[in-house]
């Protein structure tokens, strides 16, 4: 058997589709979009954190932050590879990003204004990413699922580091503690919005779930995340900027404040704080690197030509 029937059986068995397997065009398209958006997010996501490398307040923190940002570049690489295995080359995907045709996670359009944001991004943003991504380790597309396994391992490390930064600040001077609280205040709602709109407004989710790409709904994931941080924030000695937050024992779910979905859509539409800045930086880096990439290509061609000539000479 082959084609649709095989694909359907794999999905029904909750097994994995591999690059050479037949797959529906819509499945492929959905995956390319999702995986490349994820890759772009890793790349753009380097910027807010890179913003504090040169100013990190201790050498140890500087080293940890550098390693983290570098990991994100690595995640970008794995994910582009997974996307390439679906037939779209990396430079095409990259061009989509540069042209503003591809999205990346909106959270990276918020600025990292203080050092405490390195903590809040690690704890809340990476935390939300993990909540999103752990189920993706079982995504039906093999290369994506396997990339996620590796990424999740590193992300949870990053989340712990973010938590530690906040803990240190919270136990530090009053100014440090206030810096930490301010960062949590700014990143709480945007982190909750990382799971996407409420289920009722998320029409594409159903198909993704049927294909075993997505495993839980946006609201289910958000619930899980809120529950987790509601506990952890106590250990930090900080508060979440959400006076309505409580666990509803009757319905077995967390009640949190209404999120500002208008802001969410504004940021997605390009009108966030840093959209322009992030894209400008990415385009500049790409443009400044053009001559370097061209040189590498020309050199590789010359070397290949030499090698070929030597082979002919030897034959």
């Amino acid at each position: 058997i082959a084609g649709q029937a095989y694909f359907d059986r794999i999905i029904a068995e909750d097994s994995r589709i591999e690059p050479r397997d037949w797959m529906p065009a819509a499945y492929r398209k959905t995956l390319v979009r999702q995986v490349s958006q994820h890759a772009h997010s890793e790349i753009i996501g380097m910027q807010p954190e890179a913003n504090w490398i040169t100013r990190a307040p201790s050498l140890k923190r500087k080293a940890i932050l550098m390693a983290k940002v570098q990991d994100e570049a690595g995640h970008g690489l794995y994910l582009y590879s997974a996307a390439e295995s679906l037939g779209t080359p990396r430079d095409v995907l990259n061009q989509q990003l540069l042209d503003g045709k591809a999205k990346y996670s909106s959270i990276f359009n918020y600025p990292a204004r203080t050092w405490a944001d390195m903590g809040a991004i690690g704890w809340l943003v990476d935390g939300a990413a993990i909540a999103n991504q752990v189920p993706l380790c079982r995504a039906s597309y093999g290369p994506y699922g396997r990339a996620m396994v590796r990424i999740c391992k590193e992300e949870s490390f990053h989340q712990r580091q973010g938590f530690e930064i906040l803990l240190e600040l919270s136990n530090g001077t009053p100014a440090q503690k206030q810096m930490a609280q301010d960062a949590v205040n700014r990143f709480y709602a945007p982190a909750l919005m990382m799971f996407g709109p409420p289920d009722a407004d998320s029409p594409n989710s159903k198909q993704s779930m049927a294909w075993n790409i997505k495993r839980f709904s946006n609201d289910e994931l958000r619930q899980r995340f809120v529950g987790m941080i509601a506990e952890q924030v106590k250990v930090l000695g900080l508060t979440l900027p959400d006076p309505e937050l409580r666990y509803d024992e009757v319905n077995g779910r967390w009640i949190h404040k209404e999120l500002d979905w208008q802001e969410f859509h504004e940021v997605i539409a390009g009108r966030g704080p840093c959209n322009a800045q992030r894209m400008t930086r990415r385009r500049e880096a790409h443009a400044n690197g053009t001559w370097v990439r061209e040189a590498a290509r020309a050199y590789a061609e010359k070397q290949a030509a030499k090698a070929a000539k030597n082979e002919i000479g030897a034959a």
């Binding site: 550098m66 690489l77 400044n288 690197g289 061209e294 040189a295 020309a298």
Partner: protein, 245 residues
Amino acid sequence: TEDVAQYALRLGDDALILAQRLSHWISRAPELEEDIALGNIALDVLGHARSFLSYAGHAWDKTEDDLAYWREEDEFRSLWIVEQPNGDFGFTIARQLVVSVYQYLLYTELLASTDGTIAAIAAKALKEVDYHRDHAVQWALRLGDGTEESHRRMQDALELVWPYVDEMFDDDALIDAVGDAGVRPSSLRAAFDAQIASVLDEATLSVPNVPRASGGGRRGEHTEHLGYILAEMQVLARKHPGATW
């Protein structure tokens, strides 16, 4: 001893300022692989800085952070070459080529340092610097023997880096004082010249012939760049004296 601590301080400062410069490339490199590679190198070099500065600090009861964040410009002992702005990718590669070949030779000799800690730090650093050197050499070849534009840019970059090469090999009284715990910089020059000449030759580039800058980093006399580097590096730490992070 005080002398060995001062010696370690020099090596630590070189590494610290270089790491600070290199880290700026992360998220700005010509391709993703280079974000990673330059990030790796910066991270390695920062590691060397921390080892040397921690060791130096022992002599004065200071931590690596005391030394990195709470010294003034004229207390830094770094070479001028590491203070130079990144320029384009070609300049950064030219600077990396020079510095990593130098550090490779230096750390190799320091394996035989009579100071056990210096020898141990050098041993660990050497493996990493070997990779840094290879990275710089590979790029020097690609840029030198790539396109016309890259050849021109790489040769220009070498001309801009070269005034700062001689200072690396200057001996002084501290070098006499540390004796076999350290390495006489001038003793590394011949091997450096040979390695560089060979790389540049293969890369179809030529060794620049330009006057040296006077130098003075080892005496705490720096170029106008260091003040800006430190203002940025130290700004947050200094706003919170006594804080831990």
